[in-house]
């Protein structure tokens, strides 16, 4: 039993005391808030000084080409660096290395990625690191030892892109709150007890692996204590007060981003948990609103300064320099009470106290039942900062309960109970071209996959093309699952996320998250083949490289069931095919319609499509309709996307929505109310996710010309926010080309 001392004075007791159960603690103790934003406090002088320091470091970082500094002498682990500070008045302590924005080298995912990243920014990795990895394989080594020729080809020609085979898979959310609520010693005690339980099971493959993993988890928890003590904090015991609760939670998160360079390193759902501690301290007269906001502001400053070392090519794929510190805010409890607290407002309010920003990736779990005051505040913040994304809590809650968090952009997991094997995505549009060419890749004329006749003469017939396409889907789904199995087998073996998984239950549910890109292009292409006349055009080698379209066809994005049903059918077919192949460690298959930010890169790798899109042109982001083809306004466009079934796409369906604020109403109050109606409407139609961008096209045109003048202009790109200035020119132009919803 734990020694409670006075850590828990004032808390209502419950199951959370006898078991590790943060959700129960929250449920017993939190105070829903149904009011408006008028209680919020502005930035203190201290916060303003810290912000100034942060922004001057950001500026230096940009001036140095994107990377301020690299520690090339150490391998990044939980305990490899001396403590680092932003100012001498930091409230929340801790950086990944000994200095803010200085990046660590993390070669466990892949040595080459680490070396190339250093080289690109003019640094050289210390030879002693090479020396070590001469004797130890990385995740990347393991994967390529096991990859088949076919897997390599799919990867090389971009049928499957962005696979986590050369970098950390990320997308795992530790329950960082556990450290604050229980203290590390209690967590170690629980893990040791799990070890004992596992000793009673026969030593099969899975049990041997799990016992070794739990052993490593315990080791990493010990390291976490050492790291915290270097900042003068003893986190072996639970947090005494709110400041400690935030600090302990942050240390746990910090240890994770020191240990893993994952693509997305999300935070989970900490706001309402913190709120309980804030309420207690305010009641005891320890804190007032200003000091509570000051703690949140400093916490968010630290999150904004999290950095990973990646190659410029990686950043081009993901646009900007993302870390996806996603925090899930709001939502409803299963008991019908809202999970919105004052701290839900406070974390959004950091966008005013510290300025707009892509990180942390603030994600509102929206329900029709959220309090009006909170809905209105969200709409206001969206219109002012474009820094929020929304996800449909009413859709996810029945599946994931009420203590889930979003990893990356749209991917939900029960916190501490589920983890996932991230699997990037396959290019459905390119697969269609491959099937039309009977297994010849359209840009390089190489043979991949099933070999059969091409549809290279006469008008394309829908039934034949679709039947053929489904055969290719079946084939690709099989190879895709196998590829993922190889990757995650090796990732567990060589780059196991010890600290993050120590903050999970020992017996966890695993998800395997597949993805598709190019959905709107395939839907439109099949619709063109079905409703117009499409003729293939071949080059001198008989390879279909272009199409002639006669007549018009219904286009995805206009709430037209003729084509929307094709899109809906496609994800269902693809999902079903995936589920026919067994996964590593019995993970549940999930699917996302998401491009993250790589829709530009997918487009570059894909030839001309039967819908009329030319070779190399960017795809639409996520599940969005293709640029300019949604002709009946934004609502019709949203309706098309909302028809995709979440039951097949439990890893998320991303939709990016850009609007000129003046088209949402004549004044700010109207705009806010109308934005609330829009989100309510989309989610009532069972839409899953929406990014809201509110900006004028003219401003973006100016920012495209002189990005350096707009360092803080934040835009949302397919599930994620980035600073416009951090995008490549191609990405900026793609954003500009995207449909702007403004009508005379």
């Amino acid at each position: 039993m734990l020694k409670t001392g006075n850590f828990y004075d004032g808390f209502i007791s419950g199951k959370w005391q006898s078991e590790i159960d943060v959700a129960d603690f929250i449920k017993q103790n939190y105070k829903p808030y149904e009011g408006d934003s008028s209680f919020l406090s502005d930035a203190t002088q201290r916060t303003k000084r810290a912000r100034e320091k942060m922004e001057s470091l950001f500026l230096q970082e940009r001036q140095k080409g994107g990377v301020l500094d690299i520690d090339v002498d150490n391998v990044s682990t939980v305990v490899s660096y001396e403590p680092g500070y932003l100012t001498d008045e930091d409230i929340i302590l801790g950086f990944q290395t000994d200095k803010p924005l200085k990046r660590g080298v993390n070669p466990f995912g892949g040595l080459r990625m680490a070396v190339d990243s250093c080289k690109a920014y003019g640094y050289k990795v210390n030879p002693k690191i090479f020396e070590h990895f001469k004797y130890a394989a990385t995740h990347n080594d393991g994967v390529f030892r096991a990859y088949t020729d076919e897997m390599r080809a799919l990867r090389k020609y971009g049928l499957i892109t962005g696979l986590p085979d050369a970098y950390g898979r990320g997308r795992i959310i530790g329950d960082y709150r556990r450290v604050a609520l229980y203290g590390v010693d209690r967590l170690i005690e629980a893990k040791k007890s799990d070890m004992q339980s596992l000793a009673r099971i026969r030593m099969n493959d899975e049990n041997i692996r799990l016992r070794e993993e739990v052993f490593c988890q315990i080791e990493s928890l010990e390291q976490l204590k050492i790291m915290a003590s270097s900042y003068g904090c003893d986190i072996s015991k639970p947090a005494m007060d709110a400041k400690q609760a935030v600090q302990w939670t942050y240390f746990a998160y910090l240890a994770s981003i020191k240990e893993s360079n994952g693509a997305a390193m999300s935070l989970g759902r900490v706001g309402t948990f913190f709120d309980i501690y804030f309420e207690r301290d305010m009641k005891n007269g320890i804190l007032d609103e200003t000091s509570v906001q000051e703690i949140m502001d400093d916490f968010v400053i630290k999150l904004r300064m999290s950095r990973q070392l990646r190659t410029p090519e990686y950043n081009e794929l993901f646009a900007g320099d993302p870390t996806w510190v996603t925090e899930s805010i709001g939502g409803m409890g299963i008991d019908g009470r809202t999970l919105v607290t004052k701290t839900s407002f406070r974390i959004l309010h950091t966008l005013y106290n510290l300025g707009a920003s892509p990180e942390p990736n603030l994600t509102v779990l929206w329900s029709q039942s959220l309090p009006e005051g909170f809905k209105n505040y969200c709409a206001k913040v969206s219109l002012d900062t474009s820094s929020i994304q929304y996800e449909n809590d009413d859709l996810m809650r029945p599946i994931s309960g009420d203590d889930y968090g979003i990893a990356c952009c749209v991917s939900s997991m029960k916190i501490g109970k589920q983890m996932q094997f991230f699997g990037a995505r396959c290019n459905l549009a390119k697969l269609l071209l491959l099937s039309i060419n009977g297994g010849r890749e359209e840009l390089h004329d190489v043979k991949i996959g099933l070999q059969t006749d091409a549809f290279d003469k006469g008008v394309l017939e829908f039934d034949k093309v679709y039947k053929r396409y489904r055969e290719y889907i079946k084939w690709l789904a099989e190879v895709y699952v196998d590829t993922m199995n190889v990757i995650h087998y090796m990732h567990d073996k060589y780059a196991y996320e010890k600290i993050m998984l120590s903050l999970h239950d020992t017996n966890i549910e695993r998800l395997m998250a597949f993805g598709v890109a190019g959905l709107s292009i395939v839907a439109d292409s099949l619709s063109a083949i079905k409703y117009a006349k499409v003729y293939p055009i071949v080059n001198s080698n008989g390879l279909v490289i272009d199409y002639k379209i006669e007549g018009d066809y219904p286009k995805y994005g206009n709430d037209d069931d003729r084509v929307d049903s094709i899109a809906r059918d496609l994800v269902e077919v693809f999902y079903k095919e995936l589920t026919n192949s067994p996964t590593y460690r019995g993970a549940k298959h999930t699917l996302s319609v998401l491009t993250i930010t790589s829709n530009v890169v997918y487009g570059q790798k894909t030839g001309t499509t039967p819908c009329g899109r030319k070779s190399g042109q960017p795809f639409a982001p996520g599940a969005n309709p293709y640029h300019g083809r949604d002709e009946n306004g934004a609502v019709a466009s949203l309706n098309s996307v909302a028809k995709l079934a979440y039951t097949c796409c439990k890893d998320g369906i991303s939709n990016t929505f850009s609007v000129v604020p003046s088209t949402l109403g004549k004044n700010n109050v109207d705009r806010q109310t109308n934005l609330v109606s829009l989100i309510d409407g989309y989610f009532d139609k069972k839409g899953h996710h929406i990014n809201i961008n509110a900006y004028n096209r003219e401003d973006l045109l100016k920012a495209n010309e002189r990005p350096e003048d707009y360092p803080n202009l934040t835009i949302r790109v397919s599930g994620y926010a980035v600073k416009f200035a951090a995008l490549s020119k191609k990405h900026r132009e793609e954003v500009l080309a995207r449909t702007f919803h403004n009508k005379l």
Binding site: D561, V635, A636, T673
Partner: protein, 244 residues
Amino acid sequence: MNEGKMMSFTTDEIQKNVLGYVNSIESLGALDGPGLRTVFFLQGCPVKCIYCHNPEMQDKNGGRPMSVIEIVQIAQRNRPYFGKRGGVTFSGGEPLMQPDFVLQCILECKKLGIHTVVDTSGVIFDKCIFDSADLILLDIKHTDSEVYRKIVGCAMDNSMRVLDYLSNNNIDFIVRHVVVGDLNDDVQNIKALKKLANKAIKIELLPYHAMAMPKYEHLGWEYPYHLKVPSEQKMKELQKIIDS
């Protein structure tokens, strides 16, 4: 799937099959009536105002034929977005050019509890529609009959008749007035407008804009370059008169 939500129609099948000619649909309308609305821009207008910003909708021929049922189905599909105040708006063109169609659409929407707005230039008087719609947006182009004729090309009488009818029959209406620099941006005109429209829920001053220029180019029409966009300062000044 939306196919499942098809409504069953049992009465007045023939009436509901009246066809309308629709130029375009804006499903995210937030500027033509309260709340979020689906705006149906109907084809055809009997007049040719000099600053028309939808010139492509003037021609009586053209537009996509749509039935009342189709309109109502779209309204139903978009209904979750309407919130507490939104609904559908019939604009154009001049929607009253297609009175049977608009009236049937309004009646069907009303049956379903969908809020309806008609956005009219005031050049056509249609008692049935004025009585049926939940809200009328009435464009008053000018308060002086001479200048009115210059802008619209016809006499002001009909417009005044519409205004009188709406004013005297407790019908909810908003008066809209496009403000063009040097044409109708004088204090006198705005004061007269305020007096004239004293029964309106609200008077909205809409600054003239030049964003329709590409449409004129597309049609091969000469653009009225002499028209001036009023300054922000001017608009504030005139708004003060309305608010006072």
